[in-house]
Amino acid sequence: MENIAHQPATRRVLLTAVGSFIGYFGVASTFALRPAIATPASMAAAIREAVGEAALHQGRVKLEIPPLVENGNTVSMTISVDSPMTELDHVRSIHIFNEKNPQPNVTTFHLTPRVGRARVSTRIRLADSQKIVAIARLSDDSYWYDSVDVMVTLAACLEDLR
C-alpha cells in the first residue's frame, strides 16, 4: 500500500525534474539561436559613434512614423528638419537608429544645400515594438534629435519563407 502511494510521487517528482530540465535548456537554446539583437546599449554606442561627445538637443527634427504598426516588414518613415538649407546654415546628415532590430543603424542620409528642403522619406523594417531615434547634424556641428515609440504587432525578420 505504501509502495503504491509512493510510486506516483516519485514519477511526479521525476517528471517535474525532467520537465524543468527540458524547459530550462529549451529556453536557453532558443535564446542562443536568436541573432544578436541591438539593445538600447548598442543603440547608445552607435549614437556615440555618429555624434561623438557633442551635446544632443531636442527639437528642429521631426520624425514621422506611425505609432502603431501592423506589419513591421515595411513601415513608412519621414524625417524633416527645420533648416533654411543655405550654404551657411544647412543639414549635413540625418542618422536614424533603432533599439531592437539586429543592428542599431537604420539609415544615414547625407544632405547638401542643393537639396533645398531637409525632408526625406523611406520605408524601414521593425523587428519589435521599440523606440526610433532621428539625429540631424547641422552645418554648425550642432546635433538635434527626435524620437518616437512604435508598437509593432507583426515583427519583421521572423516571417516564414514561401
Binding site: T74, N101, P102, T108, F109, R114, R119, T122, L126, A156
Partner: protein, 106 residues
C-alpha cells in the same frame, strides 16, 4: 538586373524645390533569415545610394538591413539647370545599378 522606378518632374522653374522619388526592386536580404531547410540566407544589401545632378552629388544615403525590401527613397533638390539626374545604387559586393532622368529647367 533589378528594375528601378524614378519619379522626377520633367519640367521645373529655376530655383524650384522639386521632389524626387526612387524605388529599386531588390530583396534587401538581411542575412538573419533562414530558408525552409534551416540554412542561413546570405546577406544581400544595397548599402549606398547617390543622386548626381549634372555631375554634382546632391544627396547620398547609407542603407542598412533595417531598410525594407525594394528600397524606396524620397527627397528634394533645387532645380538649378536643365540636364540629367543620375541615380546610383551600390550593393555590399560593389555592384552598381544606375538609372537616370532628364529635367528641363526654365
Amino acid at each position: 538586373m533589378a528594375r528601378a522606378l524614378i519619379n522626377v518632374p520633367r519640367k521645373a522653374r529655376r530655383g524650384d524645390v522639386i521632389e524626387i522619388k526612387t524605388l529599386l526592386s531588390h530583396p534587401m536580404e538581411t542575412g538573419y533569415r533562414r530558408d525552409n531547410v534551416g540554412n542561413p540566407i546570405p546577406r544581400d544589401i544595397i548599402s549606398r545610394f547617390v543622386c548626381i545632378y549634372n555631375g554634382t552629388e546632391v544627396f547620398q544615403a547609407d542603407l542598412f538591413p533595417a531598410v525594407a525590401a525594394n528600397p524606396f527613397l524620397s527627397f528634394f533638390t533645387v532645380a538649378t539647370e536643365s540636364g540629367t539626374l543620375e541615380f546610383r545604387w551600390t550593393d555590399d559586393h560593389g555592384n552598381t545599378q544606375t538609372a537616370s532622368a532628364s529635367i528641363e529647367v526654365e
